[in-house]
Amino acid sequence: MTSSSKNSTSLITKMYSHIYIEKEAENYPVTMRIKGILKCSEIIEITHYKDVFNERGQDFLMQKNRPKLILAVKRENLIYKGSPMCNSFGYENFYYTSCVMNCPYNCEYCYLQGMYPSGNIVVFVNIDDILESAAKLSKQKPFICVSYDTDLLAMEKLLGYAGEWIEFCRQNPEITVELRTKSASFANLANYAAPANFILAITLSPDEIIDLYEHKTPKLGRRIEFINHAVKAGWKVRICLDPVLYVRGYAQIYRKFIDDVFAKINARDITDVSFGVLRLPKDFYKRAAKNGVKTELFAYPFADDSQGATYSKQHAENLRGVIYGGLLEYMPKGKIFE
């Protein structure tokens, strides 16, 4: 039984006001680390993370604004085969892992809101088990994405997981790891030397989109600065324009954005660029609508294809044309992935 005193300054609970900890997760180093950092959070012991995460009737959007942490042990599916909805960049063996479920950022188009019943963040504390099962794949020379269902770099101060994957790359040179992020804090990487098999995939969006839809994420200027820092320090950088969104004035917005980005970043320093128009798992709408997500983003006609749902053919092609055409002016064809 736990109890503690509280002072109320604002009525919304602060970030990570509560930490739910599986009994089994208690003694892991990352659990100790988190408890050490979040000293004022209420600690609640749980049996299984699903008892909290999968509860019925949760308010996803309110939780997303001030998420609670759930610390758990991942018992199965430590590593998954990559989804055909995602780009494998030509790698035959494409995998991804989820050491964290949910993300501290709050993008309105995020597919996670249709995937998870909760806006709270689950951290799997047995990172060593996940690294170990990734290492077992080394003979396949795989490509592993480690930050799909979250933004590991944005949580680096709390978890240190990006650092774990960087070290992992050093010890497993035949495995290529991609860490995708919208974070802009180079300080999180400053203490590491860049391994050649670690790709920092930084998602960029026009400020118009960031302001409207990518809540809590750094502005474009800061992300560009981050890229320039990283490149200078020897990191392999992939620029991701993903998702590109059909919005009013999309052609001018994205054209200007691409020109601005490559005015500030030397295209030759960039490993490659990937882009993708908004696409979502098929049952996304149903769940997102159930979670109360109603935004202009989903007000365009969507069509199902074999890999999920995306804009109607006409909308998608218009959008693709603008992006691909713009990128071609700065990057060779072979370095543009869709």
Binding site: S4, K14, N65
Partner: protein, 226 residues
């Protein structure tokens, strides 16, 4: 906003009656009736009789975990709002059952259970909790600004839409679809008054033609370039 809480006597009466009536009372409840209200349950506990309750005297606790001691199952009340109280878990089968019943009447984020040890000044606690509940209830609309408000059609927009619906004799499904399409247009750039007005005078003959006109209308709405 409806704030429900129980006095000490009501609480005792409720618990004994609850034990008899649950679960049938919960099953027959009109769950939608109180969905937006707050449910504040205050239990005045005899500390000596219930050794697993919080023991600090003079305190009031907001419950963050309720365990059923016989099954070992636990529920975790949602705490989305800041509060000035201590928090605690509790192990009590009646409170566990009461929470399960409350979930049928109220949204989880609106259910708050408090425990006051019976030998403390209950009146003071109840008024402290009530004061918080009132502030919290007022605050809720602000908190929900994170939820994007859906565009709603105004009465005059609805009237225009209804003219088209009547003229084209839309089925229930088509009607629903058409209204959703209009809301989407509104979200994207504005109510498509001009685009739909011509359809209010369309005069398709027969089912097949009506359906063709409806498809044309939908196509038009889907590709309005704002």
């Amino acid at each position: 906003m409806n704030i429900s809480y129980l006095t000490e006597t009501e609480n005792a009466d409720f618990l004994s009656e609850f034990a008899l009536r649950y679960p049938s009372c919960a099953n027959n409840a009109d769950a939608s009736k109180n969905k937006n209200g707050l449910f504040i349950f205050i239990s005045h506990t005899q500390m000596s009789k219930t050794p697993r309750m919080p023991r600090q005297p003079g305190a009031v606790f907001l419950i963050n975990k309720i365990t059923n001691p016989s099954s070992g199952n636990s529920r975790y009340p949602e705490i989305l709002f800041r509060h000035p109280f201590n928090e605690s878990g509790i192990s009590d089968s009646e409170i566990f059952a009461l929470y399960a019943a409350a979930e049928r009447f109220f949204e989880r984020k609106n259910i708050h259970f408090f425990i006051c040890p019976a030998d403390t000044e209950n009146i003071k606690h109840v008024s402290e909790i009530k004061k918080w509940a009132q502030i919290r209830a007022q605050f809720e609309p602000d908190a929900s600004h994170f939820r994007q408000n859906a565009a709603e059609l105004t009465q005059s927009e609805r009237d225009t839409a209804e003219k088209v619906i009547t003229q084209l004799k839309l089925t229930q499904t088509q009607r629903h679809d058409f209204l959703r399409c209009l809301v989407n247009c509104k979200l994207r750039g504005g109510f498509p008054e001009a685009e739909i007005s011509e359809f209010a005078f369309a005069n398709p003959a027969g089912k097949k033609e009506r359906s063709a006109v409806y498809d044309k209308l939908k196509q038009k709405l889907n590709f309005i370039d704002y």
